[in-house]
């Protein structure tokens, strides 16, 4: 029992200490900084103020926020439209190859998204692979100007985040009890009804967790618009980066970051709600 206690105390203390300092404390500091007055010398100082938040309603910020949200939602929808059938078909593949196909899907999940974004440039730039190919095939006569447009940003985001949508969806769809579908068929349901009444409602937690994993990064992966969108595209992530590293307005940046955290909180509430409804578990 004694050994047990030493081990337990040591383990719990170390993990709690680490997370308290580097997660709880640092997040509290973001919260506090967002409530302090920006200051030239010490970055921020007393008195407490809400002005960092009220300024978020400034037209420039609202525009950026809306644009970022629009791009994120567009990216999430595309990922869902591509990812859902993908995950569905993946569950139908031969078990022999599925393990391998899954690893193929997980690899982009873990490899550098910066490098994969860079690879996109080589393809869509004016004299890139895509234009060269299309022109030599005679489909177009003048190169498409894709790089440094919003389309390029969307392509980059979808390319990077698609596996994040597919994996939770697959994890969910794979667990569906096949006998439910057979039962529905047996009771005379059409394919469409089965999808609408059984598969779709049951896969809701998968859809939502996929959406969370896509929406948040697609608002914040600032290097994707940096590389693909030029200076024109500003995501929320670019704004925070600018506020912190260029304008040195940490309080303002913290307030923007709190806004993101709030959005994450809302999404998590939706997620938990949907989990309760279908009584399934996704993460951890």
């Amino acid at each position: 029992m004694k050994h047990n206690n030493y081990f337990k105390v040591f383990t719990l203390t170390s993990i709690w200490a680490w997370l308290s300092i580097f997660v709880l404390l640092s997040f509290c500091m973001t919260l506090i900084a967002s409530l302090l007055t920006p200051n030239e010398q010490t970055i921020f100082s007393l008195p407490f103020t809400l002005s960092n938040y009220t300024q978020l309603f400034n037209l420039i910020y609202v525009k950026i926020f809306l644009k970022s949200l629009y791009l994120a939602l567009l990216c999430t929808s595309i990922c869902l439209l591509l990812g859902y059938p993908f995950a569905y078909f993946l569950t139908k593949t031969n078990e022999k190859y599925r393990e391998f196909l899954l690893i193929l899907l997980i690899i982009p999940f873990w490899t550098s998204s910066l490098i994969r974004t860079y690879a996109i440039i080589a393809i869509i730039k004016t004299k890139g692979v895509l234009n060269t190919l299309l022109i030599s095939l005679g489909i177009i006569h003048h190169p498409l100007q894709l790089l440094f447009t919003n389309t390029a940003v969307i392509i980059g985001l979808v390319y990077n985040l698609l596996p994040f949508m597919i994996l939770p969806l697959y994890a969910n769809l794979e667990k569906h009890d096949q006998s439910l579908i057979e039962a529905a068929k047996d009771l005379g349901a059409t394919k469409f009804t089965i999808f609408k009444r059984i598969t779709l409602p049951l896969s809701m937690p998968g859809i939502i967790s996929g959406a969370i994993l896509v929406i948040l990064p697609s608002m914040t992966l600032f290097y994707i618009p940096d590389l693909l969108g030029g200076a024109k595209s500003l995501l929320l992530g670019n704004l925070i980066e600018y506020q912190f590293l260029t304008a040195h307005n940490w309080s303002q940046g913290s307030a923007t970051s709190m806004l993101l955290t709030l959005l994450m909180g809302l999404l998590l509430i939706v997620y938990w709600h949907s989990m309760k409804k279908t009584n399934t578990k996704e993460f951890s």
């Binding site: 337990k8 383990t11 973001t30 690899i107 873990w110 690879a119 948040l216 940490w250 913290s254």
Partner: protein, 260 residues
């Protein structure tokens, strides 16, 4: 399911995999292309690789990234393994809070964690460099290690630990002779994955690194902003291959004896 639907499905899967892998394959091909500016094929060449090997600056940042990845990987695996075991085996106050915190840490946008750590380091006066990067990387690797190992533990029959105890094993023996060997594949996978995460990270490193300690991803970012360069294609190819090997072996370890 009908044959047609099967074909349609395979087509869809195939084209999506092509979408995911073609850009990378093209990048790899271009890194061997014997031309500086063109994206059409001008013959095979190693020249960009040899150019790369002469760049000492790059070598230093590569070394930095490697040291950082290995150190952060080892420490986060150690800490994460202990945490996963504690979460699995013990009941304690605040357990759900701890689980919630780990969950949030996975979901939270990297940028939020990045600026939070930047603020923390500047206030407790950790100079931006190796040390700040190390602390940050351990922090964001930790939840992934915990989830990986915890997931493995849920496959273990809880009676195994009681059986060991019943046969007279002390906690010490249970830990080293039962728990660790049974978790070993997951621990190795956790180590490889956290190394990969650390080796590839841009978002958080961007905020907490300093000029004293340059790392590879940030250098690539700076170079990529200037556009396509064949040396960079070569560098990206090398990094990509490293991460593919580590991720692939991590997956193999995770799948090994999964049903035991």
């Amino acid at each position: 399911m009908s044959k047609n639907q099967n074909k349609l499905g395979n087509c869809f899967l195939g084209s999506t995999y092509a979408f995911l892998y073609l850009p990378i394959l093209i990048l790899i091909a271009l890194s061997f292309n014997n031309a500086r500016y063109s994206t059409t094929w001008h013959g095979f060449s190693w020249q960009w690789y040899s150019l790369l090997f002469q760049d000492t600056d790059l070598w230093i940042s590569a070394l930095h990234s490697l040291v950082l990845g290995v150190t952060a990987g080892c420490i986060s695996t150690l800490l994460g393994t202990l945490a996963a075991i504690a979460l699995f085996r013990f009941k304690f106050q605040g357990k759900s809070l701890l689980q919630g915190l780990i969950f949030v840490l996975i979901v939270i946008p990297d940028i939020v964690l990045g600026i939070a750590l930047l603020m923390l380091f500047s206030k407790i006066q950790v100079p931006l460099g190796f040390f700040s990067l190390l602390l940050a990387h351990i922090t964001f690797c930790l939840p992934f290690v915990i989830v990986t190992i915890f997931g493995r533990m849920t496959h273990i029959d809880k009676n195994i630990f009681e059986a060991a105890k019943d046969l007279g094993a002390s906690e010490f023996i249970i830990f080293f002779k039962v728990t660790i060997p049974m978790l070993l594949p997951a621990i190795i996978a956790g180590l490889l994955l956290s190394f990969t995460l650390s080796f590839d990270d841009v978002m958080i490193s961007y905020f907490v690194s300093g000029p004293s300690f340059e790392i590879l991803p940030l250098k690539i970012f700076a170079m990529a902003k200037l556009g396509i360069k064949p040396e960079l294609n070569a560098l990206c190819t090398i990094i990509f291959l490293i991460t593919i090997v580590t991720t692939f072996s991590a997956q193999l370890f995770l799948r090994k004896n999964k049903h035991a």
